[in-house]
């Protein structure tokens, strides 16, 4: 293998990739306020955990469906069984 890469040239590419990814991460954060991040473009669930919004797959062996409505349901409550008060209490307990 005779190829060599100039470190400065490679650094410029990393900066470009980081810039692209950073934009995506910011958008992901915004989008997560109204759409479950595990829901793909076909409204299928890609999560590895159980969620109350999951529905049977349309195809055998396919991904499960998602019943959450974008912008309407607080999807996180379907994941975590602890409410905010209990979570805060547990945090306090852990700190002590």
């Amino acid at each position: 293998m005779t190829q060599r890469i100039d470190p400065e040239a490679f650094k410029l590419r990393l900066e470009r990739i980081s810039e692209l990814f950073a934009g995506m991460v910011v958008h992901a954060g915004e989008q997560a306020t109204e759409r479950c991040p595990y829901k793909d473009r076909h409204d299928q669930c890609t999560a590895k955990f159980v969620c109350r919004n999951q529905r049977p797959a349309m195809q055998p062996g396919g991904l499960q469906g998602c019943a959450a409505q974008d912008g309407e349901l607080e999807y996180r409550s379907a994941w975590d069984t602890l409410g905010p008060e209990k979570a805060a209490a547990l945090r306090d307990q852990l700190r002590r």
């Binding site: 950073a22 934009g23 958008h27 992901a28 547990l90």
Partner: protein
């Protein structure tokens, strides 16, 4: 001015035609893809589709055929990822598709890495990442992985439901200098502290910097359990990783 029909790859032509509406972005993509060879266009198309095996194959073939690594990055991988970014911003695709494309990019970059190594370019650091035992939520951790790799870190992803022993074994095996733990559930957060204790018990705590994150995790919680740092999101994760390893920002 280059025209859409000058792009060799039909899939790319369709993607631009159907999904890229802003004239400036459309023309920039057309200009870039017209300059790219059919082989680079094929890599971009496979990446946009999230076809990691195909990106792996096409990148391997391109490098073997003597294509410059930077050309593969510019005209194949990064050019494709630019389209992904626009489609995501416009809500045409969502986080799972973005992560599939990032996985495809990683597959392509795997063929660039030996050339980087031969050129004396080392990763910024080796990071072991995982969601803690009992927790199966991985989107946040996967976005962190994407950002870390994009910034030049080598990431060893242990996935979800990772035990203390698995973290310890991975750090030891890969000689990682950084460990990232994620938890989304308040019920699994304590497993971060247990893992840190396991590193102390194994006399390995000084070998690795430990960062934590996840929706319920706070700076106070991270401090209390003895982590070296807390990142509130994937952007903060990269800043923190660089800071912990003393990488100039």
């Amino acid at each position: 001015m280059a025209q859409l029909n000058q792009i060799h790859n039909e899939f790319l032509r369709q993607e631009i035609e159907e999904h890229i509406e802003r004239p400036d972005e459309r023309q920039r993509l057309i200009d870039n893809f017209v300059k790219a060879s059919p082989a680079m266009q094929a890599i971009s198309a496979a990446l946009i589709e999230g076809e990691h095996r195909l990106v792996d194959q096409l990148t391997s073939e391109a490098i073997a055929a003597g294509t410059e690594a930077l050309e593969v990055m510019d005209n194949g991988l990064i050019a494709g990822m630019a389209v992904v970014g626009i489609k995501f911003r416009e809500n045409i695709i969502f986080v799972p598709e973005v992560l599939a494309c990032a996985r495809a990019m990683k597959a392509g970059m795997a063929h660039i890495e030996p050339i980087l190594s031969a050129s004396g370019i080392q990763p910024l650091g080796k990071v072991v990442m995982g969601t803690v035992k009992g927790d199966l939520h991985d989107i946040g951790k996967n976005l962190c992985n994407m950002m870390l790799r994009g910034a030049g870190f080598e990431v060893i992803d242990l996935g979800v439901d990772t035990s203390s022993d698995q973290f310890i074994d991975a750090v030891e095996e890969h000689q990682a200098n950084l460990l990232g733990m994620s938890a989304l559930l308040t019920t699994t957060m304590p497993n971060m502290g247990k893992t840190i204790e396991a590193f102390i018990d194994a006399d390995m705590r000084d070998q690795v910097k430990i960062m934590v994150g996840g929706a319920p995790v706070t700076q106070d919680f991270a401090d209390d359990m003895g982590a070296d740092g807390y990142g509130k999101d994937a952007l903060a994760c990269v800043t923190l990783a660089k800071q912990l390893l003393g990488v100039k920002q």
